[in-house]
C-alpha cells in the first residue's frame, strides 16, 4: 500500500465531523438533523458509485463511454440551470440555454483536450472526464447567474425595453443594457475566483494532485491551464447565451412577449 493511501478506517474517522455537527444542531434545537444525515449519505453513495464507474471506464477506455459520460454531465448541468432559474423559463429560452451550453462547452473542451493538453488518445477518460467536469461545473454556475439576471432585467426593465422599441430600436439594441448586465454578473464569480487563487484557497484539483504526490510546480501548471480553460468555457458559453438568449423575449414581429411570473405555470 502506498504511504499516502487512505484506509477505510481512516476515512470512517472523518465522519466524526458529521457526528459533531449533528450533536450541535440537536443541542441548539436547529431542526436540520434529517437534511444533514441525508446529504451526508447521498454524498457518500454518489461518490462510491462514481468511483466504481470511473474505475471501470478508466480500465476500459472507449470513445463511446467518454462521450456518453460527457453527454450525461452536460445534460445534468443544463437541467440544473433550469432548476435554479428564479422565474419561469419559456421553452424558447430553455432551447437557447441548452444550445449555448452544448456549443460553448464542446468547443472549449475540444480545444483544451486536443491543443492545450494534447491528450492521447483524445478520449482518454482519466483526463477528459475530470477536466470536462470542472469546465461544465463552472460554466453552469456562470450561465445560471446570467439567466437569472436576464430574466430579472427583462421583467423589471420592461418599460425601458418597450420605450426603446417605440422609438424604432431593434430588439438587440433595446435589450443591450440588460444583456451587458447579464454577461457581467455571469462572469464575475469566475473572474473573482482567479484573483483569490493560491492566496485565499488552493483549488481542489491542485490539492488533489499534491496529495497524490505530484510536485507543486507541476500541479500549478495544470491548475493555471485548467483555470484558463474554465474562463474560456464560461465566457464563450455566457457570451453565446446572452447573444441569443434575449431573442426568446421577443416574437417574430419584434414585440415583447408576456413574461409569466408564476414558476409553476412555465
Amino acid at each position: 500500500m502506498h504511504s499516502n493511501d487512505l484506509t477505510l478506517w481512516q476515512l470512517a474517522s472523518a465522519y466524526v465531523f458529521i457526528l459533531i455537527l449533528l450533536f450541535i444542531v440537536k443541542v441548539k434545537g436547529i431542526h436540520r438533523e434529517k437534511e444533514i444525515l441525508i446529504s451526508s449519505i447521498r454524498m457518500t453513495i454518489q461518490l462510491i458509485i462514481v468511483g466504481y464507474i470511473l474505475a471501470y471506464v478508466f480500465a476500459n477506455a472507449h470513445p463511446l463511454f467518454t462521450i456518453l459520460i460527457l453527454i450525461f454531465m452536460l445534460s445534468f448541468a443544463i437541467y440544473n440551470i433550469y432548476q435554479r432559474a428564479k422565474l419561469p423559463l419559456s421553452p424558447a429560452l430553455k432551447k437557447k440555454i441548452a444550445l449555448s451550453m452544448a456549443v460553448g462547452v464542446t468547443a472549449t473542451l475540444v480545444y483544451f483536450v486536443l491543443v492545450t493538453l494534447s491528450v492521447s488518445p483524445w478520449y482518454n477518460p482519466r483526463y477528459v472526464i475530470p477536466i470536462a467536469g470542472m469546465i461544465i461545473g463552472n460554466t453552469m454556475t456562470g450561465v445560471s447567474l446570467g439567466v437569472n439576471t436576464l430574466l430579472e432585467g427583462m421583467q423589471s426593465k420592461r418599460s425601458l425595453v418597450e420605450t426603446a422599441l417605440m422609438l424604432g430600436a431593434a430588439p438587440g439594441e433595446a435589450s443591450r443594457p440588460i444583456i451587458n448586465q447579464a454577461f457581467d454578473s455571469a462572469m464575475l464569480p469566475t473572474i473573482n475566483s482567479m484573483v483569490g487563487m493560491g492566496i485565499v484557497f488552493l483549488p481542489g484539483m491542485m490539492t488533489g494532485q499534491i496529495i497524490g504526490g505530484a510536485s507543486p510546480l507541476m500541479a500549478i501548471r495544470y491548475q493555471i491551464a485548467v483555470m484558463l480553460g474554465i474562463v474560456g468555457g464560461a465566457s464563450l458559453t455566457v457570451l453565446l447565451f446572452v447573444q441569443i438568449g434575449y431573442k426568446a423575449f421577443f416574437n417574430d414581429r419584434y414585440q415583447l412577449k408576456q413574461i409569466s411570473t408564476d414558476k409553476n405555470k412555465a
Partner: protein, 216 residues
C-alpha cells in the same frame, strides 16, 4: 394614413372600420381602460391584432418591417421612461435607437427651450420632475423626426397653461412639417382647442360603431 378593418384584440378592442387621415392632429378620447393605449400600441406595432388588419400608408402592418415602421411612426408612452444618464444621454439615445446621426449640442438645447424646459443638458435624468421628464421624453421622440407621432397623454403631468402652450407648438410644428400627430388625451380643453379629428373609443369599440350596433 391608417385604415383599420375588422380589428379584434382579446376583449380589449373591436373596431370594424376606422380611418385616421394623414396630417393634422387627431385626438383619441374615451374613458380609462377603454382601449385607447392599446390602439396606439397597435399603430406602433408593439401589439398585433388577433384578427383584422391595419393598413399603414397603403400597406398592411404585417408587411412592414416592424423596426422600420416604428421609426416612421414613433410612440411616446404615458409614463415617461428615462434611461440612466443625463438629459443629453436621453435625447441622444432616441437617435441612436432610430439609427440616425447624433444631433449637435445647439439643436438639443434649442429643443429643450422650445418645450419650455429650463434645465441643463448635463442634469441627471432621475432628478427631473414628472413634467420635465414628460417633456424630455417628448423631445426625444421629436428629435428622431418620425412622419407620425403617437402621443399617449403627453401632457398628463403638465399644468394646464404649459400643456396648452406645448400643444399649440406641436400643432404648428405638425402643420408646417406635414406630420401626422395622433394623441390620446383626457383633457376636453385640449380636444376643443386643437383637435381636427376626434375619435371616441368606448369599451374597446369605435364609439360611432358602438352606437350603430346599439341601434340595430
Amino acid at each position: 394614413m391608417f385604415h383599420i378593418q375588422n380589428l379584434k384584440y382579446k376583449d380589449v378592442l373591436r373596431i370594424k372600420e376606422l380611418d385616421i387621415p394623414e396630417g393634422g392632429l387627431t385626438c383619441i378620447i374615451g374613458e380609462s381602460g377603454s382601449g385607447k393605449t392599446t390602439l396606439l400600441k397597435m399603430l406602433n406595432h408593439l401589439i398585433s391584432p388577433d384578427s383584422g388588419d391595419i393598413e399603414v400608408m397603403g400597406r398592411s402592418v404585417f408587411k412592414w418591417n416592424p423596426v422600420q415602421l416604428r421609426r416612421k411612426i414613433a410612440m411616446l408612452s404615458q409614463s415617461p421612461v428615462m434611461f440612466q444618464g443625463t438629459v443629453r444621454d436621453n435625447l441622444l439615445i432616441g437617435l441612436h435607437f432610430a439609427e440616425k446621426p447624433a444631433a449637435p449640442e445647439d439643436k438639443l438645447a434649442e429643443m429643450l427651450k422650445w418645450l419650455n424646459l429650463h434645465i441643463s443638458l448635463d442634469a441627471d435624468s432621475e432628478s427631473l420632475s414628472g413634467g420635465e421628464k414628460q417633456r424630455v421624453a417628448l423631445a426625444r421622440v421629436l428629435l428622431t423626426d418620425p412622419a407620425v407621432l403617437l402621443l399617449d397623454e403627453p401632457s398628463s403631468a403638465l399644468d394646464e397653461e404649459t400643456a396648452r402652450a406645448i400643444l399649440g407648438k406641436l400643432k404648428d410644428y405638425g402643420d408646417s412639417q406635414k406630420k401626422t400627430i395622433i394623441m390620446v388625451t383626457h383633457s376636453s380643453d385640449l380636444v376643443r382647442n386643437f383637435s381636427e379629428n376626434t375619435i371616441k373609443i368606448e369599451r374597446g369599440q369605435f364609439a360611432e360603431e358602438a352606437e350603430k350596433d346599439a341601434q340595430q
